[in-house]
């Protein structure tokens, strides 16, 4: 339980630090932070085995950290350094850590869904016993790839868990405007698979939902669609003034913060004050160290820009 808290707090502090470094110009490009959505990342990944695979989205720092990503190497990647997970080539939206079973963040909305389906096909044909968990957003569930992927996974009974982080918006478009169902999980019916909707702010509920189907998915039952209902506390990306939603709605969700008000979701943890304090100090140190590591790392060599292209 303390580990769940540790991971969620790490993701929270890491993202806050990224935002700060971004404003100070120490990170370039753009990025999408997952502040508010930590319980989905941590809850879902926490029940997976080491060999299981995770495929992520544009909002993927948390998913990678949850799968065991080294904050130093994530930060270095964001800073474009040679020590980053992809040596500066990938950046925030194209970051892979294959040794951790993390098959990449993805800059194309809905782009990870077929890749995950293919990894599922491969796992099945190779008899590897792996489960593939793919994160995607409510917005991504409107891409053709969603429909096509779930259909194939269903007919082929692939070991894939499709985990939708429904944070109620795809950029400025609320899911109530982008689809005529109240829950993405309802869409499971169209593919003849099971669909579940859970409180995505509650790390234990997410854990239970994914944990509850894991063995069956691994055992050949076929894919499952799980929706975690959550909220991003920050803008879509750096330049977002959030004019499409109200402050009242934001504060309503803030109350359910999965990290700050962790005692709501991790009952009993608050009593273990000393441990909690230790975790908090540890996280501060990890984040500080990630920044220092990133800063002292070298930029990737100019020649490396052109290496590694298939010909």
């Amino acid at each position: 339980m303390i580990d769940l808290y540790h991971k969620m707090l790490l993701i929270r502090r890491f993202e806050e630090k990224v935002e700060e470094l971004f404003s100070r110009g120490m990170i370039g490009g753009t990025c999408h932070l997952c502040v508010g959505q930590e319980a989905c990342a941590v809850g879902a990944v926490s029940v997976l085995g080491k060999n299981d695979l995770v495929i992520s989205t544009h909002r993927g720092h948390g998913h990678l950290l949850a799968k065991g990503g080294d904050p130093r190497r994530v930060m270095a990647e964001l800073m474009g350094k040679a020590t980053g997970y992809c040596q500066g080539k990938g950046g925030t939206q194209h970051m892979c850590a294959i040794e951790l079973g993390f098959l990449g963040t993805n800059g194309i909305t809905g782009g990870g869904l077929p890749i995950a389906t293919g990894a599922g096909l491969s796992a099945k044909l190779r008899n590897s016993g792996q489960v593939i968990l793919v994160f995607f957003g409510d917005g991504a569930s409107n891409q053709g790839t969603f429909h096509e992927s779930l259909n194939m996974a269903s007919i082929w009974k692939l070991p894939v868990i499709y985990f939708c982080e429904n944070n109620l918006y795809g950029m400025s478009m609320s899911s109530s405007r982008s689809m005529n169902v109240t829950s993405v999980a309802e869409r499971a019916v169209a593919y003849g698979i099971r669909g579940y909707s859970v409180d995505g702010m509650d790390v234990l509920a997410v854990r239970e939902a994914v944990g509850g189907v894991l063995d069956a998915v691994r055992g050949g039952m076929g894919p499952v669609l799980i929706e975690g209902r959550t909220y991003r506390f920050v803008g879509h990306s750096k330049s977002d003034k959030r004019v499409y939603r109200t402050e009242a709605e934001e504060s309503e969700w803030r109350v359910r913060d999965p990290v700050i008000s962790f005692d709501r979701y991790l009952p009993g943890l608050k009593a273990r004050e000393a441990e909690v304090l230790r975790v908090q100090q540890q996280v501060e140190a990890e984040v500080t160290e990630s920044v220092e590591f990133g800063m002292r790392s070298e930029l990737a060599s100019p020649e490396s820009a052109l290496s590694g292209v298939y010909v």
């Binding site: 490009g29 474009g80 950046g91 194209h94 950029m171």
Partner: protein, 328 residues
Amino acid sequence: MLMSEMTYSEGIRTALREEMKRDPSVVLIGEDIGVYGGAFGVTAGLWDEFGSDRIIETPISENSFIGVATGAAMTGLRPVVEIMFMDFIALAMDQIMNHASKLHYIYAGQVNVPLVIRTPAGGGRGYGASHSQCLESWFMNVPGLKVVVPSTPDDAFRMLKAAIRYDGPVLFVEHKLLYKKRGEVFECQDSEIAFGGAVVRRAGTDVTVAAYSRMVDLALDAADLLVEDGVEIEVIDLRTLNPLDSATIAKSVEKTGHFVVVEEGCKRGGVGAEVAARVAEECMEFLDGPVMRVGAEDSPIPSAMSLEAQVLPVADDIVVACKDALAW
């Protein structure tokens, strides 16, 4: 008559606003183009003016909303679609090339497809491999699709109006780094609304340099640098890639005897390959040296700014290409 000085982005917005006012069949279709104003703020404010009847915000479904726009265009509307980043146009390739571009022809003229697809291309912002590409070369290989690549606010304004009034599909390629570029924009009468052919942006005698979109500014920078070496280049802004105004190029090459073509996208199989081939076909008698191409390296675009700079062309690359062309 001078209307005012404005940015490239304002030029586009002004064209949209004027055409939407003039013709009720003009509608905007795309992601986050309403109250959010589009990812780059190009449609900011139009939502308040025109509302949800004229600005259709879509779910994230690029392939199908281009198809939706095509269907709407065939049946009486004049949709202007925004694809948020040019990279995402890859998702809609089928609807663009197998449908929108072909239907008028294969249905023997029974339908028109007055569709504009606006999209920002280009790197230079550290967005990485899926948010930085210039893919216009792909579309030069699609018969039936106009490809428009403005480099100034005035061209963006006038050519977008022309695109909206044109009865066939037009790919209107904007550039992220041009959105804030300022310039004079001139009012235009209906009779003056046209795509226009290529134009000479700077006259010179030694090398003809053809460029488009943001690369025109780089070519003009290169021209300044080359003056120090006593080289006067003539910079041509192509403005449209399909059709390609090879007559303007030929006229210049006749004078200079040397030719360089510049693009930001991949050099291999790129726009320059087609332009260079046309020059080889049509200008052989004028050429006193090899045709040179400048473009991006043969690599996906890396995210780190320091690496991205290794891949994308810079003014110095144009300088070198001009010297190479002359050295032969």
